[in-house]
């Protein structure tokens, strides 16, 4: 049935990326004029892809887009802007050394006497729109000097000045403080009253309930349906958003944890924008157990992992490995304590992509006496080590001399894992260890993690994959808003429904319950 008030209708949108990941599978999405419509889903559910298609940044393989009743092809952002669509990106598209007014008119500069920039007009245009939409900005300030909240206003103004009637906001509150968020919501409601349509990408339930009229939920590239916000409970949304399509089983013996290896005590951290990312996090990981950290991305997990490896330092609190503090000690020292790390971004922190497999495998141990003879390498010993690891970790390659970047994602991850697991680690920090890799490599890495923990290593597993975190972890903590909101000592009876409620901030355990994760 044709809904006359519909301003956007996307029908049967399918998008498959060159690496074979189907980000959108036959997705239907529609928005009515003058509503605030939430697009919800976990990381990787396909919501950003869908919006990139609507803004002309990506082209779908299948499907059609209808704007204001007219079928359109959006081949570039300019085409989308011409149809009245504006997007406020999560990472601002601003030029820091230019003033607010200059950023707003960039690409559509008002001119005087034919060839000169009419800066006064740029300022008055900025003021005019700022006034009309109640977005207070300083037109003369340089963008590098203004706070994040104002930068976002500049982005919104950029879209409005270009005539946007439909405004897409990609996780707009992720970078904002609580006060800035409240302000943004007031502004969004003001836009709505002026007849604008807003698409709001988020996975924060409270915000969605607070300001949206309707919502569309996505999971694993598919739409789970459209709902009136008033008609669905937070529990319903949580169940639709977070869920396992296939339940995975990992064979493992019950853990027998002993001494504490990693202890994190009351860690606080504010990021460079003054937003609190960690608010008093305390937990410990013992020998022989796998402790999982679950949570929607952006709730402090990344900041914590960076601190464990001294890539960042806490504002207060202590992080100790076997009683030795790690802050400010550098990675070599931390590795010397027996800590190994599977980084979230394997291409950036895990491997040197242009180097060979062999070079990457010995990157943490090439200084050891057994690989050196005076100033020269003992190549025989190195070849031997590398060949052994390639065989043990089933790295599919022609030889150890092959460049790492020529391998598949799964095999690159196996190179990382082979190095990190073969150095007799006491503590393994596994950050999204199986993200984006094939089933075979995934299973292999999971089995290895369990094996090492049962041999006595302490494992801290951070994963956005619910299946993985529930099945692999012996016990589990949930991060929400930079705090631990739940501790599950035994994951075997845990359901995804229950987890979802903690991950999305609907429930939290009492401080006493959470405190049990500290094994002094």
């Amino acid at each position: 049935m044709e809904d006359r008030s519909e301003v956007v209708r996307m029908k049967g949108i399918t998008k498959v990326y060159p690496n074979g990941i189907a980000a959108n599978q036959s997705v239907d999405f529609s928005v009515r004029k003058g509503e605030i419509h939430a697009l919800m889903g976990e990381n990787g559910a396909g919501k950003s892809t869908l919006m990139k298609i609507l803004f002309g940044l990506e082209q779908p393989e299948e499907g059609e887009i209808v704007i204001n009743g007219e079928k359109v092809v959006l081949s570039s952002p300019n085409a989308a802007i011409a149809k009245g669509i504006g997007m406020v990106h999560q990472h601002f598209m601003l030029v820091p050394s230019l003033t607010v007014a200059e950023n707003i008119v960039l690409g559509m500069e008002p001119r005087k006497r034919g060839m000169f920039l009419d800066y006064a007009r740029a300022v008055s245009l900025t003021e005019e729109y700022a006034e009309r939409y109640n977005l207070q900005v300083d037109p003369h300030a340089k963008v590098m000097d203004i706070p994040v909240g104002m930068k976002q206003k500049v982005e919104i103004l950029k879209a409005l000045v270009r005539g946007a009637q439909i405004l897409i906001l990609d996780e707009p509150t992720a970078v904002l403080t609580t006060q800035e968020t409240t302000e943004l919501f007031r502004e969004l409601i003001h836009f709505k009253e002026q007849g604008h349509t807003i698409i709001f990408i988020s996975h924060k339930l409270k915000e969605i309930k607070q300001i949206t009229d309707r919502l569309t939920i996505m999971r694993a590239g598919k739409s789970m349906g459209v709902f009136d916000t008033a008609d669905v409970s937070e529990q319903d949304i949580s169940r639709l958003m977070v869920g396992r399509d296939v339940v995975l089983k990992v064979e493992k013996e019950p853990p027998s944890p002993t001494d504490t290896v990693l202890s994190v005590t009351d860690v606080h951290y504010q990021n460079e924008y003054g937003k609190q990312m960690l608010g008093g996090v305390s937990f410990s990981v013992r020998k022989g157990e796998i402790l999982g950290i679950a949570g929607v991305e952006g709730n402090g997990q990344r900041e914590l992992v960076e601190m464990l490896f001294d890539m960042n330092q806490p504002d207060s609190g202590a992080i100790e490995v076997e009683g030795r503090p790690v802050a400010g000690k550098g990675q070599a020292y931390i590795r010397g304590l027996g800590v190994s790390h599977i980084p979230e971004d394997r291409m950036l922190y895990g491997v040197a992509a242009a180097g060979t497999i062999e070079e990457n495998l010995i990157a943490d141990r090439f200084q050891k006496p057994r690989f050196n003879k005076g100033p020269l390498f003992k190549m025989d010993a190195i070849h031997e080590e590398s060949d052994r690891l390639i065989e043990d970790y089933q790295i599919l390659c022609r030889s150890g001399g092959q460049q790492v970047k020529m391998l598949s994602g799964g095999n690159i991850q196996k190179v990382v894992v082979a190095r990190e697991f073969s150095c007799a680690p006491k503590l393994i920090i596994a950050d999204q260890p199986t993200r984006g890799i094939d089933v075979g490599a995934t299973e292999f890495i999971r089995r290895k993690l369990v094996e090492l923990s049962r041999e006595g290593a302490a494992v801290l597993l951070v994963s956005a994959d619910l299946n993985e975190i529930i099945e692999l972890s012996d016990s589990l903590i949930v991060f929400y808003g930079g705090e631990i909101v739940a501790y599950f000592e035994d994951t075997s009876t845990l359901t995804d429904l229950e987890m979802g409620e903690y991950m999305l901030g609907l429930k939290r355990q009492s401080p006493e319950e959470i405190r049990r994760v500290i094994h002094a």
């Binding site: 598209m93 001119r111 800066y119 504010q270 460079e272 003054g274 609190q276």
Partner: protein, 322 residues
């Protein structure tokens, strides 16, 4: 000895020569400013100057018109710069390598073409080339001391000074300048509002080529009256240093160019006082190294201050929160 040096430095001919010597460096440094602000490093300035210097000589000799020679030098300068753009932006070679190739073409290719045009390999004695005129500025030329320093220069010296202002207007007062600065600083932002990054980079390179072409033309049609092999003698590189020290600002770059002009003028005079020529010729380059070191130290200091500033701000915010 020191007295002699000071005597030279505070003499009128010395002050006059600074402006003269600064001219080609200033043209090239402004060329570096325009390219660099658009995010394309034009390291081929030296080569462009050489090619333009020869072009000016050949075409002014053929047409017996200094103006046509100058125009051809500017056009060739632009074309060579656009060629760097073609290699770097379209064919995606490294822009530094493309620039180095142009420099080598400039030092070797000019000798070949001069030989073909004049039969000479060392300098263009057989070509009856023209020079740009010198001009006296009314009123100013009558002021004592100052008039003698500022008036009577080659017309291109005045063009160079005018270009400082024009480049400033271009960068800060025109839509094109705004787009050049955005493309250089955050190409994604420019792209997201429909500004074509490649188009702006090409335009900036073209302007850069014209300015370097003017610098080359001054060398053979003002500073000297013929073309010599390797006559630019590293001025294209000194200009890059002047641009970096001037932080890419037209006025700052003018001041640093003057500094290098001063060093060069000093070198010329010290030689006449009996300092060893080899040592003296190092002066401008020593200035370059010292200048770049000072510049690097000051930027590092600045970065440290910013970091410190944001940290204290953070601490302040934390306290306010608590």
């Amino acid at each position: 000895m020191l007295e002699n040096i000071l005597g030279i430095i505070f003499s009128i001919p010395f002050a006059f020569s600074i402006l003269r010597i600064t001219t080609p460096i200033l043209f090239a440094a402004l060329a570096a400013v325009v390219a660099d602000r658009a995010g394309v490093t034009n390291i081929g300035l030296e080569g462009i100057m050489m090619i333009s210097a020869l072009t000016g000589v050949i075409f002014s000799a053929w047409t017996q018109s200094a103006g046509v020679g100058l125009l051809c030098a500017m056009v060739i300068g632009m074309l060579v710069a656009l060629m760097i753009g073609f290699f770097a932006l379209i064919l995606k070679t490294d822009i530094i390598l493309a620039g180095i190739a142009v420099n080598m073409l400039g030092s070797g290719g000019t000798i070949l073409f001069m030989y073909l045009a004049s039969g000479d390999r060392g300098y263009s004695a057989n070509l009856a080339s023209k020079v740009m005129p010198s001009i006296d500025i009314p009123l100013i030329k009558d002021i004592p001391v100052l008039g003698q320093i500022l008036s009577g220069h080659n017309v291109l010296t005045y063009v160079a000074l005018l270009c400082v202002f024009l480049v400033w207007v271009l960068l800060y007062k025109t839509p094109l300048g705004l787009q050049i600065r955005s493309v250089g600083e955050n190409p994604n932002a420019a792209d997201s509002v429909g500004v074509s990054v490649n188009r702006i980079s090409f335009i900036a390179l073209g302007i850069s080529g014209v300015l370097a072409g003017l610098g080359g033309a001054f060398m053979s049609m003002g500073y000297m009256s013929s073309f010599n092999t390797n006559m630019t003698a590293g001025r294209g590189f000194i200009a890059l240093a002047a641009e970096a020290m001037g932080r890419g600002e037209p006025l700052g770059t003018f001041l640093t160019s003057l500094l290098f002009g001063f060093a060069d003028a000093l070198a010329n005079n010290l030689q006449s006082l009996g300092f060893p020529a080899e040592l003296v010729k190092m002066t401008p380059y020593v200035f370059t190294i010292v200048g770049l070191a000072v510049y690097a130290a000051s930027t590092m200091n600045k970065a440290k201050k910013i970091r410190h500033h944001s940290k204290t701000k953070k601490a302040g915010a934390a306290q306010a929160g608590a």
